[in-house]
């Protein structure tokens, strides 16, 4: 069965991590979904590069954080916070592309 990430995540958000980085967090509803996403590498560099139109070397890291069943992705901001042409100084509304992530599940 095809499922959407919104079925299994309780928080999906974005924020600056300093003026030059954008950091994306996905917090899963429980450990089961965290394990499924982590083991199947559903969130990977290729996917992020495609969703955010970034080159792979613009992805600083994808870190799986077990204490809260979450994955954190940090990428380069399209331009530094507040520089001419910036669209989101705090980076707080850059999470939407993640909401389209779909995956296969038996449940």
């Amino acid at each position: 069965m095809k499922r959407n990430i919104l079925d299994v995540a309780r928080v999906i958000r974005s924020k600056n991590s300093g003026p030059y980085e954008l950091t994306l967090d996905i917090l899963f509803k429980d450990r089961k979904w965290y394990d499924l996403f982590k083991n199947r590498k559903i969130v990977n560099e290729e996917l992020i590069s495609q969703l955010y139109k970034v080159k792979q070397d613009e992805i600083l890291g994808i870190i799986w954080f077990e204490p809260v069943s979450a994955v954190k992705i940090t990428i380069r901001r399209p331009c530094p916070s507040g520089s001419p042409g910036d669209t989101d100084i705090y980076g707080a509304q850059q999470h939407a592309p993640l909401l389209g992530i779909e995956f296969e599940s038996e449940e």
């Binding site: 300093g18 870190i63 954080f65 380069r76 001419p84 669209t87 592309p97």
Partner: protein, 511 residues
């Protein structure tokens, strides 16, 4: 009825106080106070103490009251007084962030509201001094450069005068002199953080203020000198919470991690809030987080989730002189809305580095907001805007006016720009013309000519020939003042903490 309730609460408090006294004899208390004083007088050796000894000295733990996420965000007085009733050993608050962008640091302005900074500080200073609890304010005025420090100091002095307060005020500036930064640059001792372009001499020279995030060391010095109120320039957010307990010998990993959570106050609780008080209770081998508003609790999930917030790596939180390692950290719910955190470690990193921040002016901005409802124009909007930009740029070039035009298209890609994955349109668009020129006059001209050109531009297929834009306001254009960009965001090695000289001033009459 109300009075009766009040009396009841008073009795309860008295009972509590008596109970507290009876748990230890007066002599024990005196001894403890004497040892505490000895600790306070100890040299700045940052020596760790035996956790058991610390727990004997502070049987209830070392309690830190964090009133709000950023000074000036406000907090309910009830929560604050609940915190004061817990007899905290420290009141500390974080005052700043780079989140609001480069303007505030470069322009020397605060992004927080003066009236509310004063309101928050009044509670903290009055109660702190009344109960002899040190008050520490981090990153004064939002960005922590000299004008921000001065701005916040003026507010403190106003309150002191109005409330008749007298105290020793410690002030720690965070500005790094230009020659020091330039020397470090020449020696190749400035290291850019990820994705930060290399810095150059000009960027350093053009930045009005370059500040560094200092760590606990200068704050410890201020505590040791007996400062009752400590006003810090730009500093590592957790430092204002962690300095005093680290000075007393608490584990720096636990103290700094607790500070990292306390600096956001109730944001780490659930339901989260940036404008409510929390208490951090540091013990020899753990710390406990407690909401001071019964409407919120800490859960292991809310606390751990906060560790992810605004950081690129949740396991390793880098700061001045080292890193907080959370690889072995555990978050345990105590079942009463509190969470106990264990296992966080501080790992010093040599050479000692600090993070520099600077921004510089790059021009002036004028904006104009308008709406578009015509479906033919919306369909061709990208091409139309490019044509308008080309036409205006060529006009400006001939007039010797230099600048740049940016269009923010709300309803299409105003929020994500070129990264927007969805390529569909709404039935109306918001067009924000963002003109940046070398002077305000140039920016005004650029915005005005762009607006009038777009308003009457005869795009291909146009049938609405009276005008292309719907303006909500008259006047339509708004001058926005100076524009800044981040210019320095680099690590610098420091040979000593002398870069952050403490100034001690007596406010009001002596005691």
């Amino acid at each position: 009825m109300k009075e009766k309730k009040h009396q009841k609460e008073k009795d309860k408090k008295n009972k509590k106080a008596i109970h507290r006294k009876s748990t230890s004899t007066v002599r024990e208390t005196e001894e403890r106070e004497g040892r505490k004083q000895k600790l306070l007088n100890a040299a700045l050796d940052l020596e760790r103490r035996d956790p058991k000894e610390l727990d004997r000295l502070f049987p209830e733990g070392f309690k830190v009251l964090s009133p709000t996420a950023i000074l000036g965000y406000g907090f309910p007085p009830e929560s604050f007084f609940r915190g004061i009733e817990r007899n905290p050993q420290l009141i500390a608050v974080d005052g700043g962030s780079t989140d609001p962008g480069p303007y505030y640091l470069g322009a020397g302005k605060s992004f927080t509201n003066r009236a509310f900074v004063k309101r928050d500080l009044r509670f903290m200073l009055v109660e702190g001094l009344k109960h002899q609890i040190p008050v520490v304010i981090g990153t004064a005025g939002g960005s922590g450069a000299l004008p921000h420090l001065e701005w916040c100091k003026e507010i403190i002095l106003e309150i002191a005068k109005e409330e008749g307060l007298s105290f020793q005020l410690g002030i720690i500036p965070a500005d790094i002199p230009k020659p020091v930064v330039l020397k470090a640059f020449e020696e190749g001792a400035l290291r850019p953080l990820p994705f930060v372009p290399p810095v150059n001499r000009r960027a350093i020279e053009e930045s009005p203020y370059i500040v560094a995030q200092f760590g606990v060391e200068p704050i410890i010095e201020a505590h040791r000198k007996g400062c009752e109120v400590i006003l810090c320039g730009r500093c590592f957010d957790p430092a204002v919470f962690a300095a005093l307990p680290i000075m007393l010998g608490y584990d720096p990993g636990l103290a700094l991690h607790m500070g990292k959570i306390l600096e956001c106050a109730a944001i780490a609780a659930t339901p989260g809030s940036g404008a409510d008080c929390v208490l951090g209770i540091l013990k020899g081998d753990c710390f406990i987080l407690e909401s001071l508003n019964p409407a919120r609790v800490f859960t292991s999930a809310s606390t751990a989730a906060h560790t992810l917030y605004e950081k690129s790596d949740p396991y390793h939180l880098y700061g001045p002189g080292g890193m907080i390692n959370l690889e072995k950290t555990t978050f345990i719910e105590l079942g009463d809305g509190r969470v106990e955190v264990r296992g966080s470690r501080f790992e010093p990193i040599q050479p000692y580095t600090i993070k520099l921040e600077g921004s510089r002016p790059i021009g002036f901005r004028t904006i104009c907001l308008a709406g578009v409802r015509d479906p033919i124009m919306i369909q061709g909007i990208d091409g139309i805007l490019e044509e308008v930009r080309a036409q205006v740029s060529s006009l400006m070039e001939k007039e010797g006016i230099r600048g740049a035009i940016y269009f923010h298209l709300y309803g299409k890609n105003g929020v994500m720009g070129s990264r927007e994955p969805i390529q569909s349109f709404g039935h109306e668009l918001g067009v924000l013309i963002d003109a940046i020129g070398e002077t305000q006059k140039d920016a005004d001209t650029l915005c005005s000519v762009t607006r009038s050109t777009l308003l009457h531009y005869g795009y291909k297929g146009r049938i609405a020939t009276a005008g292309n834009l719907a303006f909500p306001f008259s006047p339509s254009d708004t001058p926005m003042g100076e524009v800044y960009e981040f210019s320095v965001y680099h690590l610098m090695e420091i040979p000593s903490q002398r870069l952050f000289p403490l100034k001690v001033e007596q406010v009001g009459g002596k005691g």
